[in-house]
């Protein structure tokens, strides 16, 4: 190869080392997160029908357009591109039920982008995860809308034979006492969906001692008569937010992120581990006899069955916690920098979630827990600094 120049260079000034980069750019990270959220969104669509698509599309469109408008008004470049706005909108959509009115995701996304992200100076500077900022504000503004139905305590889930195409508003309440699980029950005529209590709500009522004891048995009425089978909570066949219920899809999405290296495995492990520990230890109010509090529910054995373990597993899979652990708590900007700090952060989120679920009154306890711990990120970062080599610290 004989030619006049053997190096084709645009600019001669010295390029600083390093000359090769790892190839992971911000856009790659955002696209991977979008894909992970998309996996959950697809499962949510199957479980909650076309209404879920409408909700999520509205959320994403509102997020993207409010990001564009905000950057136009403030004349700042849209940092991180529209991918981040779309991701924020999609995550917000995943936390909402499919049955909300059309303006709820729009207002939530606009709040998330403008107040959660934009006013902090764009990408890279916000303190609280913007999608959750939008979510909790919507929770305050429209507590009625979030469940659509007059009976606030009940939410719909598509019945067998109506997945993906069913109309979730054609719902009818069912009796949990005779409920045999999603696939074991017959569809009531003239309805495409069932109304039942969200498992999280059931667990909250149980912690307040509102579920009547059956003689000496306390956990048996909860697990047998009030909650759907555990298999349903794993596959997501229970009511709740679009992306909250399907435990399996959330785990797959999180494993994908961990495989790509964009989520540290310590975050979900610490969060779920601490949540399980908290659920195992923290006392619940007893409906039996004179009441009082029952510590260490994990050790409960009734009729020779270790129901305490099932109780703890229900806490993990009932909703919100999985979505929080795999997709919401690991947000790079709003979580601590170091692995150690992120593990502390996630563990605190897990404990707070269970604490607020058992004794709090706020809905969306996992989202609140994440937002509360986001406020302590600077402190955690300060406490988990590395020792610099050669500097006695």
């Amino acid at each position: 190869m004989k030619q006049e120049h053997w190096i084709v260079v645009e600019d001669w000034p010295a390029r600083p080392a390093p000359h090769r980069s790892s190839g992971n750019t911000l856009q790659d990270i955002l696209h991977a997160w979008l894909l992970a959220a998309g996996i959950v969104a697809i499962c949510g669509t199957v479980l909650f029908g076309t209404a879920a698509i409408v909700t999520m599309v509205l959320a994403v469109a509102a997020a993207v357009s409010s990001d564009l408008v905000f950057s136009l008004v403030t004349r700042r470049p849209v940092i991180g591109g529209l991918s981040h706005a779309a991701l924020t909108g999609l995550l917000l959509g995943l936390t909402l039920p499919a049955t909300v009115y059309w303006y709820v995701p729009i207002i939530g996304s606009a709040v998330a982008i403008v107040f959660g992200k934009g006013l902090f100076g764009g990408l890279g500077h916000y303190i609280w995860q913007p999608a959750l900022v939008g979510r909790v504000l919507v929770q305050f503004l429209f507590p009625q809308q979030l469940s659509l139905f007059i009976a606030l305590t009940q939410s719909p889930i598509l019945a067998p034979g109506h997945l993906l195409v069913g109309d979730i508003r054609q719902a009818r309440a069912i009796d949990m006492g005779t409920y045999q699980g999603w696939s074991g029950s017959r569809t009531p005529p003239l309805s495409e969906a069932w109304l039942m209590e969200r498992p999280v709500q059931t667990l909250r009522r149980f912690a307040e001692g509102e579920i009547k004891a059956d003689g000496d048995l306390v956990y048996e009425p909860l697990l047998r008569d009030s909650l759907p089978p555990w298999r349903d909570t794993v596959f997501g066949l229970v009511p709740g937010g679009i992306g909250e219920t399907c435990t399996l899809a959330v785990i797959v999405a999180g494993l994908y992120l961990i495989y790509r290296g964009y989520l540290r495995w310590q975050v979900p492990v610490a969060m779920l581990g601490s949540a399980a520990l908290a659920a195992a230890i923290l006392p619940v109010e007893m409906a039996r006899g004179a009441g009082g509090y029952d510590w260490l529910p994990v050790l409960t054995v009734e009729q020779g069955r270790a129901l305490g373990l099932a109780y703890v597993l229900y806490h993990l899979t009932a909703g919100q916690l999985m979505l929080g652990a795999f997709l919401l708590a690991g947000d790079m900007i709003a979580s601590p920098m170091r692995v150690r700090g992120q593990a502390i952060f996630a563990a605190a989120v897990g404990v707070l979630t269970i604490f607020m679920r058992l004794y709090g009154i706020l809905e969306g306890e996992c989202y609140w827990a994440i937002l509360i711990m986001n406020s302590f990120v600077a402190m955690i970062d300060r406490r988990t600094k590395r020792a610099v080599l050669g500097m006695a610290m």
């Binding site: 053997w6 001669w12 600083p16 390093p18 911000l26 920098m337 992120q342 050669g390």
Partner: protein
């Protein structure tokens, strides 16, 4: 290497760092090839900038291989020898990649490649004198090897570490040298350790290449050399990190490894010293890894000093137009600024890439990858602002001085921020300011 260490991996490692994709498959299995001097050699008459020499040749003179072309002008300097026989056609300046323009000579080889016989070595000749007379240059502190060893003796060094872990991608010259001439290397390391009076000599090897480790262990049997197989985690090859890993000693801020009683020598220096000490041969060639996506026959080449980089690249074959040529590793190397660059004594690699990356920085997204990967425990993302400030406090300056310039923070940054370059610039500027303040005060 016992069964369990084979299974469990290297015992000793350091906090931080990360495993880079080592692009060595193309070069590590090919033997080192000779590159004949078949064109004019542009030989720099100084081994590095500041090592003043006096030319001993005139234009038109015929020289033999190994003949001295320039003698040192001061005791700390190094002589330069002719790589092959031929005629001096010009005395000009040549461009060395690390030093810029140096005085040089153009040698037109006559093709006969006649060499002077080995320089006679007398028993009375001291060790450092042999190194100095044969022009051995050390790569890692860029100084003449005899000066490095004298400094180490003066500092009372007790440990010698020979650094053969090439953790940067593409580089495999040290690995090939270990494979091809292990006995000579071990002999030379023993000699250097004896000359230093070190009571512990270690050779740090890449654990991944276990057959090489076994071979070196066999060679080192009965010699007082510890073989330390280490992980390929980058930047294990940095002297500060090596000392922390092997000896658990931390180099204080602003000091060198000599101050903690250790001398770290790169394997290339040992290889050059082997020729000088065992065979009485001056340093007239060096082993260069030629690799990268623009190269056809990537491999290790034994290249005469003064070969133009262009001829070396064309000898290896170019597949694509070269947009970026780097001397050294991809993370710490120097981009060639001029096309007439030549091979010098401390050239270890020539990497030719068909694309130069153009980073487009965005604000930090707090991923924390730079903090987790920093081998010395810094927070590079918090130090990027120092460059724009006029002064900084003592603590920040100390942190800047701890940085070992491994380039890993810029490499992993998803926001493509120029972290390591900015830290380096800030350090150089602030240190210069501090020096000026001291001289102005006194």
């Amino acid at each position: 290497m016992s069964f369990w260490s084979n299974v469990l991996g290297p015992r000793r490692t350091f906090e931080g760092g990360c495993f880079l994709p080592d692009q060595k498959a193309a070069t590590a299995r090919r033997p080192i090839e000779m590159v004949a001097a078949d064109g004019p050699l542009h030989i720099p008459l100084q081994a590095a900038r500041g090592l003043a020499t006096i030319a001993e040749i005139a234009v038109g003179e015929h020289v033999l291989g190994g003949q001295r072309l320039a003698r040192p002008a001061e005791p700390d300097s190094l002589p330069v020898h002719a790589p092959t026989s031929g005629t001096i056609t010009a005395l000009t300046r040549v461009w060395a990649p690390l030093d810029g323009y140096l005085p040089g000579a153009v040698l037109e080889p006559d093709g006969k490649n006649q060499h002077l016989g080995p320089t006679p070595t007398w028993e009375s000749e001291s060790f450092v004198f042999q190194l100095a007379r044969h022009g051995v240059m050390c790569g890692a502190p860029r100084r003449p090897a005899h000066r490095v060893i004298q400094d180490a003796v003066a500092a009372g060094v007790t440990e010698l570490i020979v650094n053969a872990v090439e953790t940067e991608p593409y580089l495999s010259a040290d690995l090939r040298t270990l494979v091809e001439e292990p006995g000579r290397l071990i002999d030379t390391i023993c000699d250097v350790a004896d000359a230093l009076g070190a009571h512990r000599a270690m050779i740090a090897l890449p654990f991944r290449h276990r057959r090489v480790v076994k071979r070196i262990e066999a060679e080192a049997t009965g010699r007082h050399i510890e073989v330390a197989p280490l992980s390929e985690r980058y930047p294990q090859c940095q002297p500060t990190v090596l000392v922390k890993t092997l000896l658990d000693r931390e180099v204080p801020v602003g000091e060198s490894v000599l101050d903690v009683g250790v001398l770290v020598l790169p394997l290339a220096t040992i290889r050059a010293a082997a020729g000088a000490l065992l065979e009485g041969r001056p340093v007239i060639e060096t082993v260069v890894t030629v690799a990268g996506d623009a190269v056809d026959h990537a491999g290790n080449y034994r290249v005469p000093i003064g070969t133009p980089m262009r001829r070396l690249a064309e000898r290896a074959g170019l597949l694509k137009p070269v947009a970026l040529a780097v001397v050294g590793g991809p993370l710490t190397g120097v981009a060639i600024g001029r096309e007439e660059a030549v091979v010098t004594t401390d050239t270890t690699a020539l990497l030719l890439f068909s694309a130069a990356e153009q980073p487009k920085p965005v604000p930090c997204i707090h991923c924390g990858w730079c903090i987790e990967d920093c081998p010395v425990g810094l927070d590079p993302s918090s130090l990027i602002h120092v460059e724009a400030e006029r002064t900084c406090d003592e603590m920040t300056l100390a942190q800047l001085r701890v940085c070992v310039d491994c380039g890993l923070c810029s490499h992993v940054c998803p926001a493509q921020l120029p972290l390591s370059a900015s830290i380096k610039r800030a350090r150089l500027r602030l240190l210069r300011q501090a020096e000026e303040a001291v001289t102005a005060g006194s």
